[in-house]
Amino acid sequence: MHRDLQLRFLRTMLRIRRVEERCIAFAETGEIRAHYHLYIGQEAAGTGASAALAPDDYVFTTHRNHGHVIAKGGDPGKVLAEIIGRSGGYLGGRGGTFHVAAPELGIPHTSAIVGGSLPIAAGVAFAVRRRKGQRATLAFFGDGTMEEGVFYETLNLAQLWRLPLVFFMENNSVSAAERAGRGSPTSEHAAKALSDVPRAFGVETATVDGTDVEAVFALVRRLLERVRSGEGPFFVESRTTRWPGNYGAFPKLVGGTTDIAWALDAASAPDGVRAWTMESDPVIAYAAKLLWHGAIDAAALRAIDAEVRGEVDRAARFALESPLPQAEALAGVG
């Protein structure tokens, strides 16, 4: 893999991590008023998949959208401003953390209803196909979405109509040991392996370790070629392991902010996140890999991290300084 791309992956994943950590700070200071969802632990999936997309391809996401928007090129300042409900946000603060979208980046609308985005994504793909366009659509969604009927309705319809759509399911509750497998670890779905289900609909499926950014990128790039040539929808199961801070409705920074030095020695991570950092952290793992392969050295890594932290500091400042939206923002959209 080309080094530029590798560094881009690393930077994007770090950017997501730092933005998400900032959200926890914003929740602590009351800037985020209600519960919210973070992408920590899934950065490689969103980053790898989005890197394979063309700039004008469509992306759909969920309540857990921050990372997807940033991976698609979203400006961290506008993302954070949206998350805290400011007029400088992508939607002027009307959508908030559950709904970050960026129409100008091919993310026209984000639903926070489980399964809500899926048929809309299929509709966009349907429009593209009718016009014989080349734009692909990729829909991120969680394993829980496979408990909702709309998933099956959409899958069936997408397969019947051979829509140019990647169903990118993020199974974020897989243990580290099982991540390379395909079994279903949930107590809420009866399937032994979730990807058996789309296959029963005739949809081709692939399972990927969602903490491996290069693997995700390679898989999605290959599928997108086939999608663009009309081979119909595909289903991807991206398997990640839940970050300990993500249990419960209000994320907690259990081990403090990520210290990039953990890439040199993951065992130095604090108690609450040590095992997860060693086995399941896609950012630390990738930084470690690039170090190991000599793509970067420790100093370069620190420099990149410092750069990203600076960028996200500026983004947070932008968000905080962005004015509250005023009632006029509600006008004329009835």
Binding site: P108, G116, F126, R130, V150
Partner: protein, 334 residues
Amino acid sequence: MSVEVRAPAATRTLKFAEALAEAVDEICAEDPRVVLIGARFTGHTPSAHVMEPVTRKHASRIVWPPISELAYCGVAVGAALAGLRPIVEMSTATFSYEAVPQIVNEAAVIAAMSGGRVRAPVVFHMLYGIRGGGGPQHSGSPQAWWWNSPGLQVAMPSSPADVKGLLRWAALRSEGPTVFMDHQRLMELEGPVPTGRHEIPFGQADVKRSGGDVTIVATSIQVSRALEAANRLAREDGIEVEVVDPRTLEPLDRATIFASVRKTGRVVVTDESHENAGVASGLAAIIAEECFDALRAPIRRVAIPPTPVPYAESLERALIPDTERLVAAVRALR
């Protein structure tokens, strides 16, 4: 059943179903962005067949979806986001219950969330009301729910001219999502329809009959019933009833309604949805709030009593807000 409409220069007499079919035909012909998801606009009514030449002619513009209301309504929303102008034909309105999440919680909120930058110009067409032998599950009238859901436009045409004019406007000009509700029993109604590209922008009520004694604000099929009642009341009681048809609930032409109420001081509101928090209640509440000083009698509602609609004709009859009940309501005002 036949309704007098003040006719512009050139008109022909068409059935409601024919005018509807003509509108669909023209819409498809004039705008290549239009796609039909389902196309049984005329249901199982005696005039069902008038759609046949239209669906044959525009077969390439029609997709017939699986029985997946939630997904195909979402597909329509997505297609609209991507630049198509989809019309979803859902058949019996109760089937739309399956799609409430996509209609109310996606289509309706998109424009507001993006400050109007993203728009979903989609039409959800459905056949509502007590059609005769539909029983408790196929006689539903959900118009009040749509009106209660901000971000949706709601059209309820009462005549052949109006169904054509309103559907053309919704499909070709509207920037927002529309729920378009035709009563199953209107299909046979005859009336004059202007030749040419007759369009009626939303938000323009129509005085279907002038009169100085009592105002009946009536939607959809209730307009025919109100006109019958008016004729009877003129003949038998010398009461001159003015019949005001809002044509669209959202946007609502309050001025025309208020002008009539201020003139007569006596009002009956009627709609074939259930009484409690139904459309008649919604209209009555607005009038009670805005025209109080003009009122000289209680605002009477004629709607479906709060009972699920039974199957037997003898029981159905007890619930239909028919001419008889309108006559009685007007008489009770004096």
